[in-house]
Each structure stands twice: as structure tokens, then as C-alpha cells.
């Protein structure tokens, strides 16, 4: 920090200290769970559908053939999961902008959120963050047991305190900026497909 910025920092902090109102208490934040247990998987599916995401609930025994069938024109499949070989791995990208050459990206999410239909991704799962944005289509594996009820639960995930980058992603990219008409995609992926599939083992919440 140069001397001007040190001056600015101190001036701002002094002004804030001099003007901030008398101390107000921090409220306790309840967790707001539903009074009756809810079907987390069904709620998750309904929520993500509202945001134009697609959920595959049937068992997929061979993810590779699933991808080939769903995206027959895909040439470059970037796999960040052991269940699928893909045609490339994130580590093989020389530059993060090279992710724009990817047709389909497949990655596992450590958490889904029933309230919103969001899935969590971070630099830990993605390795190269741009694969989730510059690819045309994104396929996400999610273990049903990793679905939490609401956003309060979601922000307890250790990723938010440990990873440099984490994102709650809810459906493909979209925009309502032209005349309020919602369209997909905007700048990110064109489609988001979530496959509910058991994880390979271990506790994914400790990513």
C-alpha cells in the first residue's frame, strides 16, 4: 500500500469511527427448518426445474454412454470425475480460457440445496473454474444424501470458509434483461443437467 492509500485507509476508518451509530446487537439467526420433515430430493427436483435445470433421477450405470447419447455432437468432453474418462481432464488445459473448446463438462458437486435447486461447486471440484462456464453444456453428479434443506444449511458447508472460489449454481446461465423475457443461455453454459448418483465413497463435505 502506497502512502496515499495509507492516508485514505486511515481517513476512511477515522470517518467511519466518528460517524457510526451507537452499537446495536447482532441478532441470533435461527435455522428455519420445516416443521415436518420434507422430501429433500423431490423438493430439489422441483426447485431446479423452476430455474431451467434438468435432473436425471434414474440410475445411470454407464455415464459415458449417457453423455454420448445426450450430446451426440460433443467432441470435447472434459471430465473432472473418476466415473467418466472424458476426452480431456481439467489439468490438461494450458490456460483457463482454453475451456472454451469444451463441449460438455462433467463434475461432481458436494452439495445440493432443496430450497433453491442449487448445486455447490468450487475450485476443488472444478480444478479449472472456467470449465463450468465456458463449456457449452454442464453435467453435474450429485449424491442424493448430499442434499440439504435450505440456504442456511448450505452456507455451513466448509467450502465457503476454505476454498478460494465457490459457487451456488442454479440452472443454466440466463437473462431477463431484454424486455423481461427470460432466455437461456446468457454468457455461461447452455444447459445444466444434474444426475443423482451415489458418490464413489468418503465424505464429500470435507472437500
Amino acid at each position: 500500500m502506497n502512502s496515499i492509500q495509507t492516508l485514505s485507509r486511515n481517513a476512511i476508518l477515522d470517518a467511519v469511527r466518528g460517524n457510526q451509530p451507537a452499537a446495536r446487537p447482532m441478532p441470533a439467526i435461527p435455522r428455519y427448518h420445516a416443521s415436518q420433515p420434507i422430501d429433500l430430493v423431490a423438493t430439489f427436483c422441483e426447485s431446479i426445474a423452476r430455474m431451467a435445470g434438468v435432473v436425471v433421477t434414474e440410475q445411470i450405470s454407464d455415464p459415458d454412454s449417457f453423455l454420448r447419447n445426450k450430446f451426440p455432437d460433443a467432441k470435447v468432453i472434459c471430465s473432472a470425475v473418476p466415473e467418466n474418462p472424458g476426452t480431456i481432464k481439467p489439468a490438461s488445459l494450458n490456460h483457463w480460457s482454453e475451456a472454451s473448446t469444451i463441449d460438455v463438462c462433467i463434475v461432481r458437486s458436494p452439495m445440493g440445496v432443496a430450497e433453491t435447486g442449487s448445486i455447490l461447486l468450487s475450485d476443488f471440484e472444478l480444478q479449472v473454474n472456467t470449465i463450468a462456464f465456458l463449456a457449452h453444456d454442464l453435467v453435474v453428479l450429485l449424491d442424493p444424501k448430499d442434499i440439504v434443506e435450505n440456504i442456511h444449511d448450505a452456507y455451513e458447508h466448509p467450502h465457503f470458509k476454505q476454498r478460494p472460489y465457490s459457487v451456488l449454481m442454479t440452472g443454466p446461465s440466463g437473462s431477463g434483461d431484454i424486455s423481461g423475457v427470460v432466455v437461456h443461455p446468457a454468457q455461461g453454459v447452455k444447459t445444466l443437467t444434474v444426475i443423482l448418483s451415489r458418490g464413489p465413497g468418503g465424505d464429500s463435505r470435507n472437500g
Binding site: 485507509r9 470517518a15 446495536r24 480460457s97 476454498r163 446461465s173 437473462s175 454468457q187 455461461g188
Partner: protein, 465 residues
């Protein structure tokens, strides 16, 4: 000294064109209805609003401590934290970072703060090419206009407007008004920018002191691309955006998108705690009048704002006049109470662009007493002699008449008769602000007092005798 912005006059062109006016009114009212529907599905909605308000008030009351906590955590995460007292310092810091990077190209996502600081013209004068990557913001950039709404910058434009604009700028088909086609044109033209720019910029919706994180909510994914693709990520954020913890962030995320568009969450709600390997992340904390506003006993609550625009969507004045008419960075009810803190003379007329119906306060997710602050600003304008002579004289006369019942009775009876006989020019002239763009309601054939004298007074006398 700047001349006061005349919002009503600026709205004239917008009002004259009924297509845009009626469309905007309808569109924003749909947003308001979607917001109501989303809120009704959350049983604890009102509790969340109370919590959000309390968390913000707590944080603002200990702001210096939380700013220092954020700075320490972010620095430990590898982020370089800068402090800017005003717009010029902010712009200079950003320019210096770009110059150091040796780039003349910047991709950025939407940030009202950078609009407030007028960053884009500052950088462009110094040879930096800035590409807005939010669809609405890019439309406004191409049309050389500021945002007309803080969530949907081009919401006042029709698909026809966008089709014509894109054909002029991108050579697309001017007759094709299909929205997916237009969004596709934007995608084709903007995405290459992410791949080649050496620097990307975002704003932030929240700053989390506990983790040193900035949180950005978008639907398009353009903030994630701006921050993740180039090797340099610069984030500009106002000092009032800090909140204490990730736990408290959850309260705001549950309120934000529901209040803005009626969705449960934005497509991308992203947390940036530090740079990736081989890249750099800088956060510029900007004051630009906020610390001063913190000391204003009647107005510091406006710093709680989370920029959802619910107050704009519900405001009858905003919906019928469009955001550009306010001639200010922040518009609508929240703009009315924020802008005078930047420049009192220039924005002295804005607090009068309100019906004071209180709807803005009722929908505000952080319970800012917006309509009461609007009234408060009117008082400030009067105390500071910032009210137009015509308006002031009208208020003086009203004050005199309303405080004397006999005078009031004579005035209403005379006016009622006068409205029936006076020629048009005598009623609709520049001295009657109410007569602009609206017809004076037809005068009743008798005043209430006249009616009461005829129908009730004698009867009461009889019954009580």
C-alpha cells in the same frame, strides 16, 4: 453549482410515448407480483426481513471493526485490499492496476458503484477498452446511456429498440426481435472478450468480514467469467456492503432474488475468497460519501440497501417515468434518498418525485423507512432553501389555508366553482404542477360541507333535540 435535476420534466418524453410507458409499468408490476408470490411461500419471510435489518444495523454500528476484520482475512487469503476515499481515487487505483498489468482491455460485470464513480469514461479517456458483459448493461453501453434500473439496466427498452440497436452496432437483423436471437448475438460478441482480456472486474453484493470473501449474485455467469478467466480480478465495493459472517449471508441470499425478481436465488451466487494460483485478486473498498452518510441521524439507514430494486418495481412514479428521468446513478425511491447525500443542490427536487404511499418501505427486504426518509429529505430541502419558488409558495398558501377552517371552507367552495367555469389555460399552466400530464379531476357539484349542511346538519339538530 449544478442545476437541480427536474425528474418530472425529464419524464415528459417517456410519458409522451405510451408504448414504453405502459410496457414498463406492466413489466415492473409483474416483478412486484412475482416478489409477493415468492415471499408468501416463505413462512418466515417477515422474520427474515427483521433479521436482515438488524444484521445490517449491527454491522453499520461497528463498521470500522468489520472493515478491519475483512481486510485482515482477505489479506491472509492473498487478496490485495485498497481503500478509496472518493470516485477519483477509486478510478485511479483501477487504472493503475490495469496499467501495471500492461493491458488496454477490461471485461467487467455489472456494478452500480463503478457507474457512481464514472469509471468507464475515466478509463476510456486513458485508452482502456471497457466491455460491459451483463446483457442489459451492455445494451446501455452500446446506446451510450446509463442504466435505467439497478437490476435490469435496459428494462425500459422494447425488443424492437434492442433489435435496431444491435443491427446498428453488430450488423444483426433489425427485423428479428426474437429475444433468444438477440441474446445469442450478445453472447457471440461478448464471449471472445473474456478469453482475450488480461483483466476482469466485478462489483460485489456482499463482503463477508469473517472469511475475507466477496459475494456476487448474477444470472448470466458473466461475473464468474470476468473474475475467473483473465489473470487479474479487480472487485470494487462500497464499504457499507460488509456483513459479519457466512451464517448471516444466508439471510440476505434468501431475501435478495425473491425481492428482485421473485426467483428463489440467482443462477450464480459466487463467493470469491482469494486468487487462484498464478492470478491476482484486488478488492477496492470505496467510501465516496458513505462514511458521511453514516453520521446522518435521519438517513444512515439507507446504507442498509442490498440493491434488489423492489422499491423501484413497486413505485408508481418510477414505473410510469422510467429510471433515466431521475438523471442519477441510483433511481426510484432508494435513489431519491441516496442521491442528495452526493450533491444536495443537484438532487434537491428528487424527493418530490414520490406519492409517499409507503409501498417502497413495505417491500424493502432490509426494512429501510424509505418513504419517511423521502419526507425527511423534503424537510431538509426546505430548511436549506432548496425548494423551487413556485412549489414553496404553493406550500405556504396551503399551510395558511389548511390551518384556518373558515378559510379552507371558502377556498374549497370557490375553487369548486372556479374549476367549472375557468378556461383551460387558466387551470393548466406552469404554476399548476399537478396539471402536468394529468387531468384535474372533475369538480364535485358541491363540497362536503355544502352536502353536510343540506343533508345532515338539520337532521342532526332534529335528532339531538
Amino acid at each position: 453549482m449544478s442545476k437541480p435535476i427536474d425528474q418530472a420534466k425529464n419524464a415528459e418524453a417517456f410519458l409522451a410515448d405510451t408504448v414504453h410507458e405502459q410496457r414498463l409499468d406492466k413489466l415492473l408490476w409483474v416483478m412486484r407480483q412475482r416478489r409477493d408470490a415468492a415471499a408468501r411461500l416463505v413462512p418466515e419471510w417477515e422474520e427474515l426481513r427483521t433479521l436482515a435489518s438488524a444484521i445490517k444495523e449491527h454491522t453499520l454500528s461497528r463498521l470500522s471493526g468489520y472493515l478491519l476484520e475483512f481486510e485482515a482475512r482477505a489479506t491472509a487469503n492473498g487478496v490485495v485490499v485498497h481503500w478509496a476515499r472518493d470516485a477519483h481515487e477509486h478510478n485511479q487505483i483501477v487504472y493503475d492496476l490495469l496499467a501495471e498489468q500492461g493491458t488496454n482491455m477490461l471485461v467487467k460485470s455489472k456494478s452500480m458503484l463503478t457507474e457512481e464513480c464514472e469509471l468507464r469514461p475515466f478509463l476510456e479517456r486513458r485508452g482502456i477498452r471497457v466491455t460491459e458483459t451483463d446483457l442489459g448493461e451492455r445494451i446501455q453501453q452500446l446506446d451510450d446511456q446509463p442504466p435505467g434500473h439497478i437490476v435490469g439496466p435496459a428494462i425500459h427498452k422494447t425488443t424492437h429498440d434492442v433489435a435496431v440497436l444491435f443491427s446498428e452496432k453488430y450488423g444483426s437483423d433489425p427485423k428479428n426481435e426474437d429475444v433468444p436471437y438477440l441474446a445469442g448475438i450478445m453472447r457471440e460478441n461478448t464471449r471472445p472478450g473474456f478469453l482475450h482480456a488480461a483483466a476482469g472486474m466485478t462489483g460485489a453484493n456482499f463482503v463477508v468480514a469473517e472469511t475475507g470473501a466477496i459475494v456476487v449474485a448474477t444470472n448470466e455467469g458473466n461475473a464468474d467469467l470476468s473474475a475467473n478467466t483473465p489473470p487479474l480480478h479487480i472487485c470494487s465495493v462500497g464499504i457499507e456492503k460488509v456483513i459479519p459472517t457466512t451464517e448471516s449471508l444466508a439471510v440476505f441470499i434468501r431475501l435478495l432474488a425473491r425481492s428482485a425478481t421473485g426467483d428463489t436465488i440467482t443462477q450464480y451466487t459466487s463467493t470469491f475468497r482469494g486468487p487462484r494460483k498464478g492470478a491476482a485478486m484486488h478488492v477496492v473498498l470505496v467510501d465516496n460519501g458513505r462514511s458521511e452518510r453514516l453520521g446522518m441521524k435521519r438517513f444512515w439507514h439507507s446504507l442498509k440497501c442490498i440493491r434488489c430494486a423492489a422499491c423501484m418495481n413497486t413505485c408508481p412514479v418510477y414505473r410510469r417515468s422510467g429510471g433515466l428521468s431521475y438523471g442519477s446513478t441510483y433511481m426510484g425511491p432508494i435513489g431519491i434518498i441516496m442521491m442528495p447525500t452526493f450533491e444536495i443542490r443537484k438532487y434537491s427536487e428528487l424527493p418530490f418525485s414520490s406519492t409517499l404511499n409507503g409501498s417502497c418501505s413495505n417491500v424493502c427486504p432490509v426494512k429501510i423507512d424509505i418513504h419517511e426518509q423521502i419526507y425527511g429529505w423534503r424537510e431538509v430541502m426546505e430548511e436549506n432553501d432548496q425548494i423551487q419558488v413556485v412549489k414553496k409558495e404553493a406550500m405556504r398558501v396551503a399551510d395558511e389555508v389548511l390551518s384556518h377552517p373558515t378559510l379552507y371552507q371558502i377556498a374549497t367552495e370557490t375553487l369548486s366553482t372556479a374549476l367549472q367555469v375557468l378556461p383551460h389555460f387558466a387551470i393548466y399552466n406552469r404554476l399548476n404542477a399537478w396539471g402536468k400530464h394529468r387531468d384535474i379531476p372533475e369538480a364535485a357539484t358541491e363540497t362536503f360541507h355544502e352536502w353536510y349542511r343540506t343533508h345532515r346538519l338539520n337532521r342532526n339538530e332534529v335528532s339531538s333535540s
